[in-house]
Each structure stands twice: as C-alpha cells, then as structure tokens.
Symmetry: C2
Subunit: 364 residues, 2 copies
C-alpha cells in the first residue's frame, strides 16, 4: 500500500485515471467509464464524499453481480414533444440520468417545459450534477428520485419504509454562482452514516434512532446496503424532531420516483430491485415567463441581499449562505489541496485495482 500513498495526496486527475482504469478493466466502455468516474470524483470534490469515489468499489461489486449491465444503454420508449419515458435497461445510473436531462433540456428548449421519467435505472449518484446541466443551459432543472431500499421511518412510525429519496433543483444566476438545492429528504444521505461507520466517528443527534426508537449518535446502530454494517436502526426524515413536513417530502419522492416512473418501490416488497433509482426530471425555460436577463439580474440581487443579512453569532459558518455555496467552496479547496480519503476506503480501491491487475502508480 505504501507505494500508493503519494497518489492519495495527488490531484483529482490522477484519481480519475485510476477509477477509469478500474471500470475499463471490468469491461465497461471508455465513455461510460469516464462519465461515471467524473461524476464520482466531482461529488468528492464538492464535499459529498457520501456520493463520491467510495462508490468505485461498490459499483465494481454491482457489475460483478450483474446489477449494473456495463454494456447496455438507456432508451426512450415513449415520448411526446414535452415528455419522455426512458428505460434505463440497468445501464450505469449515471448514463440514464444524464440522458434523462439531455432529453428534458432538448424538449424544454422547444416546448418551454418538459418532464422526463426513467426506470430500470441504477444508482445515479449526486443529483446536483444533472440539475446543473439545466442551469448551464439557462433553464431551471428539477430532479427527484426514490431509492427502493427501505431505511427511513415515516413520521410517527417505527419501521424502515422509505429510501433516502433525494431532490435537487438548480437555477442559473448572472454574475453569482448558480443556486443548487441538492439533498436527501431523510435527515442525511445514508452514505454520510456509512462514511462515519467506516472511520468510527460519531454522528449528530437527529439523524437516526436505534432499533428501539431511541435517539443515538452511534453510526453502528444503523445498517445500509452500502457501508454501514451495524444494527437495524432507522433514519429520520429531515426536520422530523419538529415537523411532519420532511416525511411528506419522503413519501412524495416515493410517488414521483417509484410509482409515476414505473420503477420499483419498497411497497413491491420481495420483488423490488433494492438498488434502483426511479427518477423524474422537470425542466423549465425561464423565458416562457420572464426575460432571461431580468431574471438573472434579480437572482443576483436576491443572492447578494441574502448573503449580507445579519448572522446569528452562534452560527458555525459565520455568514448566511446560498444553497450551492458549500459545494463551490469545497470544490476550490479540494482542487487546491486534494480530496481527503479515509485509509479503509483507499485500501478498498487499491485492492480492487490490484485484483484487476492494474499498476496503481501508472494506471492504463
């Protein structure tokens, strides 16, 4: 392992090379290997290690098990000028989600608003990567997903029912950075518990309850299919110590992602494909309502105003932030300083590369 230590502190570009080499050695085509690794490295760069390169060994496992079909490609099976329905054919989820947004953006350019749904879609990673495709095209992008594996309890409930069921919305700005809302409707993405379980760190109260329903800060009171290997505790919906509202969003994402798209849902019980993301994209053309320049100027004013509002002296971040700012700042920092990777994760990735016969210092 020592010979690889230098790579670990090196640029994201070198991490990318190693990742792409791994998927190519697993038989994936070059374009998809690059797409998937770019998405994972980008998630690590913006500070969401939960959706980052920790998925390289997880996807490798899913490829070996036939859950991800590396050769297949998503396909539009039904469409109108403003909608499309996509069968992901169990290709990489990233391939299906990217195609979903490409189609949605194209349709919104012609029809002002579009809705595109996909099923048979593997784990798509960080949702914000796709909604930002719309923002880069001067449009508003909305993406919801369900995750069929049940780990989140309903409000007032005492069982594992929903997935972490995330949502993302991106909005273009003028001179300011775009707005990027991107979160699980659970208190956190399960991967954040998985990362803590891997390193033995405590988690904040309010994320999970243990299997008896008591609040806990121990990640090992919880288990997921992607890392945390403890007890069958339960994730809370966000804000659920105060409110039913996060739960309302959890069930809504289940409806839009799992039922409207034709994808699996926990309600299908034994028949469900635990790793499926049912996804729904909605894209809005701003110019259908407001001239783009006016809109962008007002967005800039809004963000500047919010940004300079008075701050609670107790607040850890020291200033009011715009959604997405956390990510842009992390990105700059990690491009400068490299991506932090825990020892156990690094070991997993290097072992995987070596199993595949890859020279980890000069991956091909």
């Amino acid at each position: 392992l020592n010979e690889c230590e230098k790579l670990r502190n090196s640029s994201p570009a070198e991490l990318r090379k190693l990742g792409v080499s791994i998927f190519k050695h697993l038989g994936a085509p070059r374009d998809y290997s690059e797409l998937v690794v770019d998405m994972l490295v980008e998630a690590s760069l913006v500070g969401h290690g939960s959706h980052g390169i920790r998925y390289i060994p997880i996807y490798a496992e899913r490829i070996k098990k036939g859950i991800i079909d590396i050769k297949s490609r998503p396909e539009v099976i039904r469409e109108t000028p403003s909608t499309a329905h996509i069968d992901g054919h169990w290709a990489f989820g990233q391939a299906t989600a990217k195609k979903t947004f490409e189609v949605a953006i194209e349709k919104a350019k012609r029809s002002s608003v579009s809705a595109v749904a996909a099923f048979h879609c593997n784990h798509i990673g960080r949702l914000g990567a796709y909604t930002m495709m719309a923002a880069k095209n001067d449009m508003i992008g909305i993406l919801t997903a369900n995750v069929a594996h049940p780990i989140v309890q309903p409000f007032g409930g005492a069982s594992r029912v929903f997935g972490t069921n995330p949502i993302s919305v991106a909005v273009p700005a003028g001179e300011m950075k775009p707005f990027l809302l991107d979160f699980a409707t659970s208190a956190v993405a399960e991967g954040k518990i998985g990362l803590s379980a891997m390193t033995g760190a405590k988690i904040p109260l309010g994320w999970i309850v243990d299997k008896e329903g008591h609040e806990t800060d121990n990640p090992l009171d919880f288990s997921t299919p992607t890392g945390a290997v403890g007890e069958d505790g339960r994730l809370l919906s966000f804000g659920s110590r105060d409110s039913h509202k996060g739960y309302c969003l959890s069930i809504l994402m289940e409806i839009l992602g799992g039922l409207l798209t034709g994808a699996g849902s926990f309600v299908d019980g034994e028949n469900v494909h635990s790793y499926e993301n049912g996804i729904l994209a909605i894209v809005l053309d701003i110019e259908a309502f407001t001239p783009l320049d006016t809109f962008k100027k007002r967005i800039d004013s809004l963000f500047r105003k919010v940004h300079t509002e008075p701050v609670d002296p107790q607040f850890e971040h020291g200033e009011v932030q715009i959604p997405g700012e956390f990510e842009w700042r992390n990105r700059e920092k990690h491009l400068r300083e490299g991506i932090e990777i825990s020892d156990p994760l690094w070991e997993q990735i290097v072992n995987l590369a070596q199993e595949l016969g890859i020279d980890t210092t000069h991956p091909d």
Copy 2:
C-alpha cells in the same frame, strides 16, 4: 352579539351565506364572492383556520384600501401550448389561482405537462384547494408561492427575510383518499401564530425566535401583517433546529414565486406589494408515463402499506398518516360538529357585517 350565538354553532352553509353577503355588500360580483368564501370556509373545515374565515375581515380591509380590486379579473398575457403567464390584475387571489390551475390542467391534457405562472396576484389562501383541482382531473398538481412580506429568517441568519413561502402537491389515488402535501416552508403558516396571539395560547418551541434570537413559546414575541401584533421576532424555516434543508426550500419558493413569475420579492425592498403571492403551477399527466389504472392501484397499495406500519408508542396520533388525511378527517368532524371560531374572530366578523348593514341572522 348574543343574537348571533346560534349562527356560530350552525352549519358551514350558514357561515357561507354570511360571508358571501359581506363581500357582495362590499361590491364584489356574486361569482367571486362565492368563490372566495367557499375557499375560506373549506380551509376552516379541513382544519386550517389559519387560512380560513379569519380572512373575511382581512380581505374586507384590503378591499377598502384598494389592495384587492373586486372588479378586475385575471388575464393570460403570454402563452405556448404548454405554458402560460397570467397577470392577476390585483383581483381576488383566489380568482387568479383558480384560473392558473384551470389553464394548467387544460394545457396538461393536451401537452402532458404544463407550467403556468401568475403575478399581480393577491393572497390565494390555502394552496391545497388548487392542487386538488389537478388531482380531481387524474393529474398531479404542484403549486409554489412566495409571500413578499419578510418574516422568516435564513438558516444561520438573524433577520426577517423570507415569507412563509408555501408549497402544495396533490396526487390522485384509486380507492384511497388523494395524497395532499400542503405546507409553509416556514415552521408554520404565520396565521397559526396569529390565531394563538388572538386567543392568548402558547405556541410550540421551534416555531419562532424572539427579536434577540432566543427560542420562545410566546406568540406575542412575533408580529405579522395579518393578526399577530407583538414584537419583531422571526419565524424559522421548517426543521431548522436540525437542518438547513427547510431554508433551501424557502429560498427556492422565493425564486419560483417571486422572481420567475415576475411578482414581487422582499429583495425589491420598499417597492414590493407586501400582500402579493407570486405563484407557479406545474401539472403532470400521469398517462405520459404510466397507465392511470396501474398508477392508482400502486398508490392505493402504498398508502395501505404506510398506513399499517408500526407506530412509535409515544406518537400522539396513534397511527402513521398519509399527507392529506389530517384534512379529510377534520372535514368530516367539522361537517358534523360545526367550525370552531374564537370569540374575538366571531366579534370581528359580526361587527363587519353590521357595519355593512347586514342582518346577521338572515344575511342577504
């Protein structure tokens, strides 16, 4: 006042008569008087007194001040086959929101998805009334609004920035009741604090902070334009004791409602019309993705499953509920038992009617 006591405990139908008479005497056309009062009585029936008949005297005041233009009607000023932009011309907000959904449903029938935005729109009341119009047409209805009057603090902030900026989504079911998500992105609708201030009741911790930023259960630490007349405390976004996520939704509703629609936003400062709701409706035709019957059967299964999940023994409601259930149950109860009205509110309504020369026992 005594002669009216019996009306107070009588059927919603009699409350409707009195309300319609009040708006007619204020000069509003019959159709709009009926629409507005129906919406307000319905909100009280489903248990959202915050959006209910307490608005009869508030709207009367706004009519007298020229904020609501009782004679004007909303108008589509720009459209495509799948989008429309509506100028509400400061008519009753209910008239504009209803028209917004009528247009959106019609367009979604032809184009599978639609987006309709409105500005110059007065207070629209309870959002769920409009999204349910889509559900009744076997479609999914989404409605977001901003409220230009700033009372909600940003996550980590210490000033009044956002309105209560609500969202509603309605989804049709088969044999089960429809799904209805309908909430302020603040901890509560400001009207719920207004109602407590009126009766002197305490409010739960987690709703507001006082002007110094301390948690408080005293509604008089807070002031709003529609009832609460205390100090300049601040509403929290929902879940904000645990999470930034409610705040992300507050600012998103500001963008969609206040900026995309061309309506006012707190960012416009002195120039903003405090009572404006900028609204955006998105309607999705289920059949673009999944056969309606299949969808409805799966929705029924989902709701039945969630409904029978194990319950936290501490949970006050005793069973896991589907969003909307609270409202259907309240409606049945209030149709049986009548609508509860506090003495001060009842006094306001009766005084208003008497000022207008209405015989409150036999309103015309």
